[in-house]
């Protein structure tokens, strides 16, 4: 019926952010895991540093099991997925039962990969489900505002992560433009000055990553 409460607008935004955080951190983990198999067993320390999360892990094995699926580790992929789930489950009215199923399926797949010696197989399924979730959001949700708010959450999260990871200039420029093009189409309150500065930073030869992360984190104003 096109009316959304303040609480649910916020949840849509965070659903977008957490689904992105699960997706991108699962992919990053996959890269890191591959290196840890036989090349650099201590690579997880660098991983934590890059993502700006505390390195509380005692070994490669400890990292691999806890970072994926420890419900008591607030930075684990599982914890972030549960935050996405907690937001999704109360948005049935806004987004519908079908999109929620993909978040639900991710939770089941995540639980399965917990016990696996080959966790990337399970994580791949989680990624597939998140991609399907985004696809169905695009395809099935009629309300443009709802779609856009989820996407803005996703874009903000991605730019934040890419900035922290100091990704290549091209990726940053692309994400800034995607975010800028999207946020203007929502009813979210955001800081226009920040957005202008972000766009400017994306034009510079030398990317100021710290500044970009700071601007992205304060872009939304509610």
């Amino acid at each position: 019926m096109g009316i959304i409460s303040v609480e649910n607008l916020d949840r849509l935004f965070w659903l977008g952010r957490y689904s992105e955080r699960v997706y991108t951190s699962a992919r990053l983990f996959a890269d890191s895991f591959d290196r840890m198999i036989d090349m650099d067993m201590e690579n997880y320390a660098a991983f934590c540093r890059q993502l700006d999360i505390p390195n509380i892990y005692s070994s490669r094995e400890d990292f691999c099991s806890r970072y994926i699926s420890d419900e008591n580790d607030p930075n684990s992929i599982y914890s972030n997925l549960m935050r996405a789930y907690d937001n999704a489950i109360v948005l049935r009215n806004e987004i519908g039962s079908e999109p929620i199923t993909y978040i639900q399926l991710s939770v089941y797949d995540m639980k399965k990969s917990k016990v696996s010696r080959a966790p990337l197989v399970g994580l791949q399924k989680v990624e597939d489900n998140i991609l399907a979730f985004w696809g169905i959001v695009d395809d099935m949700i009629e309300d443009e505002n709802i779609r856009n708010v989820i996407k803005v959450g996703k874009r903000i999260e991605r730019l934040d992560l890419y900035g922290r990871l100091q990704m290549d200039r091209e990726s940053i420029v692309r994400e800034v433009h995607r975010l800028a093009g999207r946020i203007e189409r929502t009813n979210l309150h955001y800081d226009e000055k920040n957005l202008i500065e972000l766009k400017k930073l994306a034009e510079e030869e030398q990317i100021d990553y710290d500044r970009i992360v700071a601007l992205v984190d304060t872009l939304r104003k509610d």
Binding site: M1, I3, I4, S5, V6, E7, I89, R92, N93, I100
Partner: protein, 439 residues
């Protein structure tokens, strides 16, 4: 009926139920947990003619109950005519004084009634309980049917089963019929409520708006939904899934933080419809249950079509004598308890427990009803690949708009414990689809 293809597809069905998150919430050691609601693929099957009989009886019963509530909060004729003793009304915890003299939109109190029935081994149906406050459960057979049809289309080619997915339309019609002008809202206590899945599912399927108390407000004697921009949208009907006492801290429980202050005052003035009406508990009280067949005769001038389980009120001396003489054969129910609690089977008590209970019964006769133990007709479920018989009941749903309509399905709950009669999901029970045959 042994060869229903669907029963071979249990794995697929359960996978899909999990996918759609068909769950209920439960508190264990003060911690909230979501559990899948165990589903058994063998349906309860009700013949067309048998259901037609139930339908007539259910309509009649809900009509009479509605008349009763209107009378109790209005003229009180049934009390004056001494059909129902007044103390049964006024001491009932379901009787709410603030409802006296308040006529809801179109005079409907029990919009959505859940009537619990059981079938005896003699094939007779008995009503065990009327639920007129916030009966839950219709969403489960609704989504289960959707999934069963997906999992085993062949089954539904073979059997001619009334579709049950129109429940959403029925519900919408019921809400629209009493809407006083404005949006329709389903009010939920929030996601940590046992039936949250159902609340959000109904909102999606009916197109009503799901809201918690904090998203609604009263201003100038009307109820509004407030959106993120501060815009107010008038609300004309609220299907509230929170209990009476938490509905409005200004009239009921002052401590409630999930209600909406002054919603009751707005309702009192006829500016919004509440489904179901506050105060309905006076009619589904276990003590009042005894009087329902008398209500049918009193208000409708008809013989009741559906029977109660044989019930005794120790309040009446004659009944007390009977109860004491036949104590071991009876089940005793505390009228104030719900959800399968406060139910005791006399033959399972120790001598000491019996003596204590009888003393309590004599001290507080009004507090208990006694019923004959019905010889249930068991229903098969599949357990570890074997068919085993279990106790089951049926919650039929009657929706009241311009006339009562009985949903051609229902929630069949079964006990997973072979020795238990308690089918409530909160105590580990499961559910089945209920098929009403169309031919």
């Amino acid at each position: 009926m042994q060869n229903i293809e669907l029963t071979k597809r249990a794995e697929t069905v359960n996978e899909l139920l999990a996918r759609y998150g068909v769950k209920f919430g439960i508190y264990k050691n003060n911690e909230f947990k979501e559990q899948l609601f165990p589903f058994d693929t063998i349906p309860r099957i009700i013949r067309k003619d048998e259901f037609a009989y139930l339908e007539r009886g259910l309509k009649q019963r809900v009509m009479a109950l509605n008349c009763f509530i209107r009378d109790i909060y209005g003229e009180k004729k049934i009390i004056r005519d001494k059909v129902v003793p007044e103390e049964f009304v006024y001491i009932s915890s379901g009787y709410l004084a603030p409802c006296d003299g308040v006529l809801p939109p179109r005079g409907i109190y029990a919009h959505i009634a859940g009537i619990d029935l059981v079938q005896g081994r003699n094939d007779e149906w008995y009503v065990l309980e009327d639920n007129l406050r916030v009966p839950s459960g219709a969403s489960y057979p609704m989504i289960a049917r959707e999934i069963c049809r997906k999992s085993s289309p062949a089954t539904f080619e073979t059997y001619h089963v009334e579709d049950n997915r129109y429940y959403a339309k029925l519900l919408r019609r019921t809400m629209d019929y009493v809407n006083t002008g404005g949006h329709t809202v389903i009010l939920t206590p929030g996601r940590y409520n046992a039936a949250y899945f159902e609340h959000s599912y109904f909102a999606e399927k009916t197109g009503a708006h799901l809201a918690t108390g904090s998203e609604l407000m009263v201003e100038d004697d009307y109820l509004y939904f407030v959106d993120y921009s501060g815009r107010r949208e008038k609300v004309g009907a609220v299907y509230r899934r929170i209990s009476d006492e938490y509905l409005d801290p200004m009239t009921f429980n002052e401590e409630s933080v999930i209600g909406i202050p002054h919603i009751y005052d707005v309702y009192r003035k006829g500016h919004v419809a509440l489904l179901n009406a506050p105060g309905n508990g006076v009619a589904d009280d276990k003590g009042i249950y005894y009087f329902v067949p008398k209500m049918v005769r009193y208000y409708l001038g008809e013989e009741p079509i559906l029977q109660n389980a044989p019930t005794y009120l120790p309040y009446y001396e004659e009944d007390m004598r009977y109860v004491l003489e036949h104590f071991d054969d009876l089940v005793l129910k505390d009228v104030a308890e719900a959800g399968g609690y406060g139910v005791v089977f006399a033959d399972r008590m120790t001598a000491q427990q019996k003596a204590d209970f009888i003393a309590l019964l004599k001290r507080e006769p009004r507090r208990f009803i006694a019923q004959e133990v019905i010889d249930f007709k068991d229903i098969d479920i599949v357990e570890n690949a074997r068919r085993v018989p279990r106790k089951a009941d049926l919650r039929a749903f009657v929706l009241m708009a311009d006339e009562p309509i009985v949903w051609k399905s229902g929630l069949t709950r079964f006990s997973r414990d072979p020795d238990s009669f308690i089918v409530n999901s909160s105590q580990g029970g499961g559910f089945k689809d209920t098929w009403v045959l169309s031919q």
